[in-house]
Point group: none
Chain length 311, copies 2
């Protein structure tokens, strides 16, 4: 909330008014009548194109408006700033605000002829949205239960194929780093074969966006029947995979389209869930995890070339 009223009062009267933040255009209009011709030209230019004027020096603005430096400074003073330098700063701020203000045009879908910059903005926005939705929709009770099971598991198997297979591997990599026995399976046959080995106290995690991927459901079913604790990470809490899941972790389903396949948006949510699982387990097993984390970090150090500088 700005102190608009006070600003207008102060500026019209005495100098004690603090510099205007964003209500500059209004101020120009308010004060224009009391300005001389040259000053009006300057004020107009400033109100007209804040961004452009912010890029100009006092001399540049003087030339642009066909006046002199002194006039520019006088105008800045009249607008309530100590000098042109500060007006320019405010101008830059105003420009930035205007710029960011006209950004919400990214609700549209990605089109074939979108410029690359729009693609970046839209993708980033969408993934942010997916994260927010997933975080909001995540059942922390289920999550906590899954974490507890993982932290005490003798062994953990993770199933995922296609894009979800990478998420499964990501989780596995992380769990291994903190000393858990985890394995990712993307081969359906091997997954089932291994699932048979699971028993009570073990954990099986299935990752599938649709919740209908047979290759992932099968091993989870086997694990479930062998008495393992089963977890499903899926975008469809009512899908078949949940039949065999003790704990269901739901990921958000973002808009998808031709140029934005399901694999893309679902992956973001899945990874957030996976990260939560990892951090949760790391917390529970902190005494064991902390040394393991630094140990795995150290082990990699020699594979990195020397950087120019650094701590």
């Amino acid at each position: 909330m700005t102190n608009d009223v006070k600003e207008i009062f102060g500026s019209a009267g005495a100098p004690p008014a603090p510099p205007a933040p964003a209500a500059l255009a209004a101020k120009v209009r308010t004060l224009a009548p009391s300005m001389t011709r040259s000053m009006q030209r300057v004020a107009e230019a400033v109100a007209d194109d804040p961004a452009g004027c912010a890029a100009l020096t006092v001399t540049g603005l003087a030339e642009l408006t066909g006046t002199s430096e002194a006039t520019v400074v006088r105008t800045a003073r009249l607008l309530g700033y100590p000098g042109y330098r500060d007006l320019r700063l405010a101008l830059a701020g105003l420009a930035a605000q205007q710029q960011s203000g006209r950004a919400p045009a990214i609700t549209t879908d990605i089109a074939v002829d979108d410029p690359i910059a729009d693609v970046v903005a839209k993708l980033a926005y969408d993934e942010q949205q997916t994260l927010a939705d997933t975080a909001a929709g995540l059942d922390t009770v289920q999550l906590a239960a899954a974490v507890t099971a993982l932290a005490g598991a003798r062994r953990t198997d993770v199933y995922g194929v296609g894009a979800s297979g990478l998420v499964a591997q990501d989780l596995t990599q992380k769990l291994l780093r903190i000393g858990l026995m985890a394995h990712a399976h993307s081969d359906p046959h091997l997954a089932v074969t291994n699932a048979v080995q699971l028993r009570s106290g073990d954990v099986a995690i299935a990752i599938t966006h649709s919740g209908t991927t047979g290759d992932v459901i099968e091993p989870l079913r086997v694990a479930f029947e062998r008495g393992a604790t089963t977890v499903a990470v899926t975008g469809r809490p009512d899908s078949p995979v949940t039949q065999y899941a003790d704990h269901v972790l739901t990921t958000s389903t973002a808009r998808e389209s031709e140029l934005r396949p399901a694999a893309m948006s679902s992956r973001t949510g899945q990874l957030l869930v996976v990260d939560c699982l990892f951090v949760g387990v790391a917390q529970r097993t902190y005494d064991a995890a902390a040394p393991a984390l630094s140990a795995s970090y150290e082990a990699l150090a020699h594979r990195h070339r020397a950087t120019r500088r650094g701590p």
Copy 2:
């Protein structure tokens, strides 16, 4: 391209990159590791309190940070501005944005005893931040160039090990779906062996957060020397990997800590870049990509069970 890292900054490093508008905090974090101690102090002060620093002259900021004017100017240059004056302008803009926008949310680190709900919230927030920063800091010119190269490539190799290896696979999966010849390499030896086969018109992409992973740099160097178009996706635009990269795509570096390893935050940014590459290529090759996309979707349909409820 020269093999002297310093040249990357000296030659065409600064001019082609437009000064950051609001992506300043991200830029600071990205470049901070490559800064000297004094410059880091300046950068920290700037990122810490944009509004406050915008009010300071170069001398003031030098005194505040206990350094000299020269160092302040050097830092401004490193951040991509012609001089301190312009940095200050951008700072004012950033301050205005922050003020008008939401309050800069408290970014406490994840603690061992955080309840699980906090973990979810913090992780989600952090990853959202990483996305925003990466999107803001991404050089769309470089991105477009990389897309063009990919769209016309005879063959594409992607290198990545560890967590970045999964990102490499993600990209490969996507590119394959739209009919490109792409392959991900996580075995350093095989990667080099294959890189030898590359030639002009081919594309090689290295994915490494630190930019110092020898296992990834080597194949990229070979590809570079064989005349292939090389792309580096890294969080450190001044790192060794960029020596052999025709196009550098920078991902944002988020804060990391014991419970939040680098692999976690870097992955989010890398995936955004990968998604952008994919969509960009899909746009360019739309006529070929569209049928390929639906074809691969159809091919998977039979592997999904009927859903219990719903369509």
